[in-house]
Amino acid sequence: MGGPTLAQSRISTEPVLSAGDDLDVLVAFSREAYDAHRSEVRKGGVILYDSGGFQVDDDDNTLGLPIDELAKSTGNPRAANMVLLGAIAHLVNMPEEYLPDFVMKRFNRGRAGDVAVIKANIMALSLGREQARSRGFSIGELELPQKPEFEQIMVKGNDAISLGAVAAGLDTFIGYPISPATAILVFMERNLIGPGKFAYQASSELEAINAVLGAGYAGKKAMTATSGPGLSLMSEGLGMGWMMEIPVVVVDVQRGGPATGLPTKTEQSDLLAALNPAHGDARFPIIAPGTVEECFYATVKAINWAERYQGPVIVLSEQVFAERNQNIPKPDLDKLVIERRKVYSGERGYRRYEGADLSPMPLPGGPGSYVANASEHDPMGDTTHLAHRHVEMTERRFNKLKLLEDGTYEGEHQEEPIALMPWGASKGPAREAYNIMRERGQRVGWYYTMYLHPLPPKLLEELRQKELVLVPELNYQGQFASILRSQGVRAEAITQYNGLPFKVRDLVARVTERAKSPKGVMVRA
């Protein structure tokens, strides 16, 4: 396992929507990295490479730096990254003092060697900067950032999910390590602790789902987080939660699948599995965030939904968010709406599953003891095989979904007969593509929601009026498009399944081409 690793940064004075198509600067530490990525550098971009490690011909856009040698000359060989940062700072015309200020803050740790470390790092920054300057490299002026009027936090998608969960009052988290969801478990083990709180690494996803259902049954707000393979293992447990009417949240940070698949690559291919993870007649609520910021609010909403309709809710995140570190507006916890389930407080002899809709839930220790039953049951919770009971209970369970039709959505140029409607992380590149197309005067509308099931009813109504709804999604089958079609929308997928996010230019080209003759809907057989 393994292979080359890469880190990518995108800086803008405007909100960053996607990873971007092209590279302004490529830093290659190996020949392999240089060969693999040089074609992604835009015209006028610059390649920095480690000339101590390999040789290519320097030219107008290629600059070799003897990184280790320069670092050693500062007296601290570990300052190699600072040599590069200095060179990049020059390329983007960053004010000289920014990085030295950062170094002084970062390494002022009250340790004996701090002064020497700071000195070497600042020297390394200058050396890198000087190399780029003396050779005349630049990629132009980067606008100076304006500090926004609101406060910000810097979080990864997995952090945002974790913070959303604790902000919504999560009590219990039980999970099993799996890429790319592990960071949520790690966060919870460290932070979801104290009276009434419990976080634990289970022995498997089978244990995790059943344990969080136990906690949900006992009255707690409970959650687990996993990826595709774990979701598969949790399927029977999710069915149990649906059947017993137990609030619980499952986060699926999607990766390439099926089976072990592509654990470190992104894909939007678990949608159908998340909608119907369990066998039998069940269809699970799904919230799929489309930005790092939405990861926070999706999780808050998922916990609220679980409490409100008393059942499992799935948050569908993606590998591409898991480790994406982004500055987002700091959530105002005072403005969050936090919901709690309706709890039964009457006498003994309660019929917990009575009626065609939601009923208050008894909690152990309190009145109204009942059997939460994974078998079909009567209103008391006892097993039954009577046909009319299965009819009643099935309808009751589906009826409760109506409580979740409060999802919001984005709509722009709703008068257009053709609309672009991405879901999840394809929102970013799709939005950039949409902006480009509108600027060019192309007639296309925009829809987006993170509430994939149930869909906001009014959104569905609007979509049904469209001549064509184009759905960019990272899977072979066009999963969301097929769901929309099943609900009477003329939807067609724009698919990609190479483990990578969409490039904006590809979307622009494919949407433009498809919109030329929008009659009819193409379906992959």
């Binding site: 936090i153 810097m154 219990t172 344990a211 447990g237 009942y370």
Partner: protein, 288 residues
């Protein structure tokens, strides 16, 4: 609930050992309620799938809370309930198929965590609900519907397994003696840690072992069951292995670890020594 609910149509066969286990559980729960002065609703019975699991619907008198879940996952559900609400008394009721076959992977983690729940394993050596297939405790060579030419696997010795996995309280009981069994279950519930009460609970339809267990002097059949001697040192693990090596099925408390700190107490000690952060502080820690 059976008497109160005519709609519930499940029935154990006449003579089924599970009747005795149910009676024993009722006695133990009522005794606990009386002694702790906590209502019956303070108890949660987590049942598995199989004939045994129906026990949760059949308890008479004041009703505990119950779970009748999916096959093999009683311990994970109990784990979640107990750690969410440590003040609850959580009891698992599962059969040999549910607990030792499909659910076997969940025993070791609870033993190592010392989860404070009591598991009652109702062992009839067969899958009864699905009409007579071999189970982990079915003897080698036995003919069942899935072992038509005799079972090719050796029978598992559950008591040796529990002891080896480090279960803190291990008792062995017999459904034919519900009062004695109730006492073992009560001891298990009083033990601060993971307790298993393994019960011989024969299936009269598919694997009737009453005669084998109790013996039949007229036919010259010696009983398999024998009472653990009063002077057995239950805190001595080697002595416990010694009992199990004697053969047959000893009835009584096999092993009880002297010092037992359940998971929730370990967690309390951690909470005392670390600095806790609320949601606001956690969000703040990501400020830029």
């Amino acid at each position: 609930m059976s008497k109160k609910n005519p709609e519930y149509d499940f029935k154990w066969c006449p003579g089924c050992g599970d009747f005795g286990v149910r009676r024993a559980l009722e006695i133990a729960l009522q005794r606990r309620s009386a002694e702790t002065e906590l209502p019956m609703e303070n108890n949660v019975v987590v049942a598995g799938i199989g004939c045994s699991g129906n026990l949760v619907h059949l308890v008479e008198g004041p009703q505990p809370f119950g779970i009748h879940g999916i096959h093999g996952r009683t311990l994970p559900v109990a784990f979640g309930i107990k750690m969410a609400r440590p003040e609850l008394n959580v009891v698992v009721a599962a059969g040999d198929g549910d607990f030792l076959s499909i659910g076997g992977e969940h025993i070791a983690p609870q033993a190592k965590r010392n989860l404070d729940v009591t598991a009652i394993v109702m062992d009839n050596g067969v899958y009864g609900l699905t009409k007579g297939q071999g189970s982990p405790t079915t003897k080698m060579g036995t003919v069942t519907s899935t072992t038509p030419f005799g079972k090719l696997e050796e029978a598992l010795n559950p008591l040796v397994l529990y002891l080896t996995l480090g279960v803190g309280f291990i008792a062995s009981g017999f459904s034919g003696k519900p009062k004695d069994l109730a006492d073992l279950i009560y001891q298990g519930m009083s033990y601060p840690g993971f307790a298993i009460v393994h019960v011989q609970s024969p299936c009269t339809t598919y694997n009737d072992t009453y005669e084998v267990l109790k013996g039949n002097p007229q036919k010259g059949i010696l009983p398999v069951l024998w009472d653990v001697n009063a002077n057995h040192d239950r805190t001595d693990r080697d002595a416990a292995y010694g009992l199990l090596r004697k053969g047959g099925v000893p009835i009584g408390v096999i092993y009880q670890r002297e010092a037992s700190e359940p998971l929730e107490e370990r967690l309390k000690r951690v909470i005392q020594r670390i600095k806790l952060q609320d949601a606001r502080q956690l969000v703040e820690s990501f400020s830029i």
